[in-house]
C-alpha cells in the first residue's frame, strides 16, 4: 500500500493510517477495503439499552456493514417449563403469565385452552369468561404493541413516541389493575374460566378508555407515520420476504408485513373469534416500516373487538360449573387485601364439613387431568403462541412446552441484518419485538 502515491500509509498501533494528498479517492477506498482492518466483532449486550432486555448480539462488522449477525440468548432462562411440573394445574397460570411478561393474558389463555382441551371442557367454559378473555387479550395486544412502538421509537432516538406509548399503556395497565388487581403477572385466567368476575365500574372505565384511545391513536400517525426521518430509518430495513418468513417460521406482524394475511384468530379461531368483526391488516413492504403500520392498524382493530366484547357482556358465571375443577372460593377484598370471601370461610368453617373437605382437597391437591397431550395456539401480538401440554393423569402437568413467537421470530434476526448497516440492526430487532422473558422462558 505504500506504493500508493496519493495516499501514503503507515502502520500504527491503531492500524493502518492513510494520509490522503489529493488524487483518486476510489483507490484509497479500495486499498482500505483490501487491508481488511475494519473487520471487527462487536459484542452488543446482554446489558445494552437498545437490545430489548438481555439479548446479546454478536455482530461481525466491516466498517459500517454487518457481515454476520448472531444472537446469544438464555440470559433470562428461568426454568418455568420445569417448574410447572412441580405445581398443580391451576398454579400453572402463575408461572406462564411470567413468560412473555408483556403478553401475560395470551400466555394464560393459551395455557388454559390447552388444559381445558385435555380436560374436555372447552365447550363448558361460560360465555362471559370467554368474552372477558377476548377483552383482556385485545387490551393486552394494545399494550404490547404500544410497548413495541414506544421502545422501538426510543431506540431510534424518538423519545416522544416513547412517552406517548407508555402514556397510553399506563391507561391499559390501570384497567388491568382494576380487573385483576395487578399490573403484570396476573394469573387471572384459570383453567375453566377466570379467577373472578369483572369488578363494578370496569365496563365504565373501559368505555372511557375506548374514547381516550380513539383520540390518542391518531397521534401516532401524526407523529410517526408520515415523518420523513422515521420513514428513512424504517423503510427497507429489516427486510424479510414471504419465503424467508415461511422458512424461518416467522409469524405475526413479520409474516403479515410480507403480505400474507395469516392470523390464527381467522385461520384457526379460538375463544369465539370467528364471531367478531375485525380485519387483518397486511403490507407488501416486508420491512420494519410495514410492521409498524400493521401494529398501528391492529391496535385500531383491537379497539373494535373490545367494543364488541363490551356489547356482548351478559351477566353470568365466569367459571365452569363442575365443582371438581372450579376453584371453590370466590375472592373478596378484605382489610388485608384480596382473599377468600368471608361468606365462603363462614360456610366451610361453620356449616358444611363436606365443603371444607372439598375446598381443602381442591386447593392442596388440585384436580386430575386425564392422560394425553394437546396443542393450543393463540395469536399473540408477536405471532403464533403455541402450548404443548402433556398430562400423565396426575394433579400436575407432566410437560408443558411454550412455542413462544419471540423465540422463533428472533431467529430471523440474522437474515434481516446481515449486509445492512450497524445502526439498522437496532431497527430490525425492534421490529421483531422480541421479549426475552418469552424467548428464554
Amino acid at each position: 500500500m505504500s506504493t500508493n502515491h496519493h495516499a501514503a500509509s503507515r502502520e500504527t498501533t491503531e492500524g493502518t493510517v492513510y494520509t490522503v494528498t489529493g488524487g483518486d479517492w476510489d483507490e484509497v477506498v479500495r486499498s482500505a477495503a483490501k487491508a481488511d482492518d475494519e473487520r471487527i466483532v462487536v459484542n452488543m449486550g446482554p446489558q445494552h439499552p437498545s437490545t430489548h432486555g438481555v439479548l446479546r448480539l454478536i455482530l461481525e462488522i466491516d466498517g459500517e456493514t454487518v457481515t454476520e449477525a448472531r444472537c446469544g440468548i438464555g440470559y433470562l432462562h428461568t426454568g418455568i417449563e420445569k417448574n410447572l411440573e412441580f405445581r398443580n394445574w391451576t398454579q400453572g397460570t402463575t408461572f406462564v403469565t411470567r413468560m412473555d411478561y408483556l403478553t401475560p393474558f395470551f400466555n394464560e389463555t393459551a395455557y388454559c385452552l390447552g388444559v381445558e382441551k385435555l380436560l374436555g371442557i372447552t365447550d363448558q367454559v361460560p360465555d362471559r369468561a370467554t368474552v372477558v378473555r377476548v377483552l383482556l387479550m385485545e387490551l393486552n395486544r394494545l399494550s404490547s404493541h404500544l410497548v413495541c412502538i414506544a421502545t422501538g421509537g426510543m431506540e431510534l432516538g424518538a423519545t416522544t413516541i416513547m412517552i406517548y406509548g407508555f402514556r397510553d399503556r399506563e391507561l391499559i395497565l390501570d384497567i388491568f389493575e382494576l380487573i385483576t388487581g395487578l399490573r403484570m403477572n396476573h394469573a387471572f385466567i384459570r383453567p375453566g374460566g377466570l379467577a373472578q368476575d369483572l369488578p363494578p365500574g370496569a365496563v365504565d372505565q373501559l368505555r372511557d378508555f375506548l374514547k381516550t384511545m380513539k383520540k390518542n391513536l391518531p397521534e401516532y400517525d401524526k407523529l410517526a407515520t408520515g415523518n420523513p426521518i422515521f420513514k428513512a430509518r424504517m423503510q427497507d430495513v429489516g427486510y424479510l420476504d414471504l419465503t424467508g418468513c415461511m422458512a424461518l417460521g416467522a409469524t405475526g406482524p413479520i409474516l403479515r408485513s410480507a403480505g400474507l394475511p395469516h392470523d390464527l384468530r381467522k385461520a384457526d379461531p379460538y375463544c369465539g373469534y370467528e364471531t367478531y368483526e375485525f380485519d387483518v391488516p397486511t403490507t407488501e413492504t416486508c420491512d420494519s416500516y410495514g410492521r409498524f403500520l400493521i401494529r398501528l392498524e391492529e391496535m385500531r382493530q383491537s379497539l373494535r373487538i373490545i367494543e364488541q366484547c363490551l356489547d356482548r357482556l351478559e351477566p353470568g358465571p365466569v367459571m365452569v360449573a363442575d365443582k371438581k375443577i372450579a376453584w371453590p372460593a370466590q375472592l373478596a377484598l378484605g382489610p388485608d387485601g384480596l382473599g377468600n370471601s368471608l361468606d365462603h370461610i363462614k360456610n366451610i368453617m361453620g356449616t358444611s364439613m363436606e365443603a371444607l373437605i372439598h375446598h381443602f382437597k381442591l386447593v392442596t391437591e388440585g384436580f386430575r387431568v386425564p392422560a394425553g397431550q394437546a396443542y393450543a395456539a393463540v395469536e399473540s401480538p408477536k405471532g403464533e403462541l403455541g402450548v404443548h401440554v402433556v398430562s400423565d393423569g396426575g394433579t400436575r402437568p407432566y410437560r408443558v412446552h411454550f412455542r413462544d413467537p419471540s423465540f422463533t421470530n428472533l431467529q430471523a434476526m440474522a437474515a434481516m441484518c446481515e449486509g445492512g448497516q450497524v445502526a439498522d440492526v437496532i431497527v430490525a430487532v425492534a421490529s421483531i419485538d422480541p421479549v426475552m422473558g418469552g424467548v428464554d422462558r
Binding site: E85, A247, E365, L410
Partner: protein
C-alpha cells in the same frame, strides 16, 4: 417406575427404539398409593392402590374431520415414493380432536418433507419441536413432538418420534423446516436429544459447559426451603406430590 410395568418392553441393549406394543393404550408408568403419603402407617388401605398410567392408544378409521383425508394423502404419497406407510407410520392417534402420527425416526425427514411439499397436504409451517421424557416408556424414553400447520388448508397435525435414552438420536428437520434450528437446539439442551444433521447443535439456554439435561424427569428441580409467616416451606420438589 417399577420393573413390572406392564405393556412395556425392557430396553435390552437400547440400540433401537423398542417395538411398539400393537393396539391398546401406550403405558408410560404405574402409580401407587394415594394422597402422596409414603412410609407412614397406612390405615386407609388406599396405599395399596396400583394404577397404570397410559396415553391414548391407536385409533381406527374413520378418524373423522379432515383426518382421514390427511392420512390417505400421506399414506398415498409415501407409497408413491416406494415407502410402505406401515413402516414409516407406527401408529395414528386421534385424541381430543387432534391427529398424531407416530413416525419411525429413520423416516422422519421423508415424512416431513412429504407433508410440506405434497399439494394436498402443504404443511408449510412447523411450530418447532417439544421434547418429552417418559422414563417409564422403556426403550422409547425420549419423545420429540412436532406440530405442523397448513396455512393453505387450515389444518394442523402432530408428528411424534421417539428414541431410547441409550441412543438419543433423532434426524434433524432443519433441512425441511429451517425454523427448527433453535427449537432443536432447545430440545437438545433440555433433553439431550441429539438431532443428527443439525448444522450446529449446541446448547442454547443453558451455559455451554452445563452438565446434564435439565428437563429430563430424573434431573432434580433443586431449590431451598423458605420461611413464610413463621413456617418452613420445603423446596418445591420436596413438597408432597399427590399420586
Amino acid at each position: 417406575m417399577s420393573d413390572t410395568t406392564p405393556g412395556t418392553t425392557p430396553g435390552d441393549d437400547g440400540a433401537v427404539p423398542a417395538p411398539r406394543e400393537s393396539a391398546g393404550p401406550e403405558v408410560i408408568g404405574v402409580r401407587k398409593g394415594m394422597f402422596g403419603a409414603r412410609g407412614g402407617g397406612d390405615t386407609s388401605g388406599y396405599g395399596g392402590l396400583v394404577r397404570t398410567v397410559a396415553l391414548p392408544g391407536p385409533s381406527h378409521r374413520p378418524y373423522g374431520s379432515y383426518f382421514d383425508e390427511v392420512a390417505d394423502e400421506l399414506e398415498g404419497a409415501l407409497e408413491e415414493q416406494g415407502l410402505l406407510p406401515s413402516n414409516a407410520i407406527e401408529k395414528t392417534v386421534v385424541d381430543r380432536g387432534e391427529l398424531t402420527f407416530h413416525i419411525a425416526r429413520e423416516h422422519l425427514v421423508r415424512v416431513a418433507s412429504t407433508l410440506r411439499d405434497d399439494p394436498a397436504l402443504r404443511f408449510e409451517l412447523c411450530t418447532g419441536v417439544s421434547g418429552v421424557h417418559y422414563p417409564g416408556d422403556r426403550g422409547r424414553e425420549l419423545h420429540a413432538v412436532y406440530h405442523l400447520r397448513s396455512i393453505t388448508h387450515g389444518r394442523t397435525v402432530r408428528l411424534e418420534v421417539c428414541a431410547p435414552d441409550a441412543d438419543p438420536h433423532v434426524p434433524s428437520l432443519v433441512s425441511v423446516y429451517p425454523t427448527n434450528d433453535w427449537h432443536e437446539r432447545e430440545a437438545y439442551d433440555f433433553f439431550g436429544l441429539v438431532f443428527d444433521g443439525h448444522p450446529a447443535l449446541t446448547r442454547i439456554m443453558m451455559p455451554d459447559d452445563w452438565q446434564g439435561f435439565p428437563q429430563r424427569k430424573d434431573y432434580p428441580l433443586g431449590g431451598i426451603p423458605v420461611e413464610y409467616k413463621g413456617a418452613q416451606i420445603p423446596a418445591p420438589d420436596q413438597r408432597r406430590s399427590y399420586s
